[in-house]
Symmetry: C2
Amino acid sequence: MVYRRTPKMQSRIDAAREQIVTAAHRLVAESGYGGTGIPDIAKEAGVSTGSVYVHFPSKTALFSEVYQRASRHEIEAFREVAEAHGTARERLARMVETFARRALAGRKLAWALLVESVNQEIDAERLRFREPYRAIIEDVINEGINADEFVYQDARVTSMCIVGAIVEALVGPLSNALETDEEGRLVDSLTQVCLRSAGPINSEPRG
Amino acid sequence: MVYRRTPKMQSRIDAAREQIVTAAHRLVAESGYGGTGIPDIAKEAGVSTGSVYVHFPSKTALFSEVYQRASRHEIEAFREVAEAHGTARERLARMVETFARRALAGRKLAWALLVESVNQEIDAERLRFREPYRAIIEDVINEGINADEFVYQDARVTSMCIVGAIVEALVGPLSNALETDEEGRLVDSLTQVCLRSAGPINSEPRG
DNA sequence: TTAAGAATTGAACTCCAGTTCATTCTTTTG
DNA sequence: CAAAAGAATGAACTGGAGTTCAATTCTTAA
């Protein structure tokens, strides 16, 4: 008459955990962190409030996992572009476009990941989320420097700046959707700014 | 036997209000928004908790005023640099440096004004705080475009990006102070990135 | 089948910053 | 000076989100 956790039971538990993370993801993508309570998540996942706390010690911990998963996915897409063929300049342009376009495609989630005010812990999470992007950009810039595409520079600072620039340019549009053509123009301009920030570019004709 | 508010009384009231705002300012500059409660402010201002609510309908409203004042001061300094003599490029460089240096000189306050997580209302305040900087930068860029110093571009987007770049580059250093020389290097690099982002620059020798 | 122990439940609880308001103190004016 | 009205006080309250835990249900193994 002893109970031991069997594989079957384990997979039930794992499934519940998965349900919770998935539900949380869906709800953040809909209402952000602040608009999503634990009871909401539990309901959406088909479990009880208490169960959530069996799997995660706190709301912050749960969202930390949600953010990390969402990040990993996004960052893989980003890295693919960074490692594709082409000059550093071409790749950097595509990277900026990819970042911006994907963020605008999932506005609420991107907003939650990039800018939503929450608390210090989640803020730290956010900074950690931005870091991989920065690092990837830094690498491409360094490649560009070595290939004489970009002037010599502190690629670390430039990459930070590019991340900051993209986020700042997206803050508004993430809250209030743009028309398709406006979005296109924004992404184009943003790409141009980021390319210039990394180094010299042939000057374009005026007006 | 009717009481009417006399000039003397009015100035008492105004003085109290002023004390409150000043106290709040001091405390934010020390502990940020989150670390500063209304009772703390009341104590520091030498009034009661309730009095704070006579002058301001909410904590948010009070801080809104504190932020606006701090902003006005900063933005005036910024505008002065923007309107000084020199080419657009020279002025832009000084603007970036001014912004960064002043922020780093009052780290906690700058952090509260620029990046501290609070709530949507204060977030909106923050965006409003950034806007004047952006607009001033936009003007200088447009002057630079007209003077053929910068390539033709959407100055609105570039100015957003510059604000975002500066803030992103400062987020870390605002939390954990840098050594003086590190700070100098950061400001230099940041300035270079921002100048490049606005337009062509003579390429620097490598390595 | 049944007892032991694990998993789940969800109503109730905690916590705490922001806010309130009955009371007290001040000022004005007849 | 006394009455009326305003200003100030600060202990107590509140609201709501996050969290807990006694009770219940389910699973295992003898």
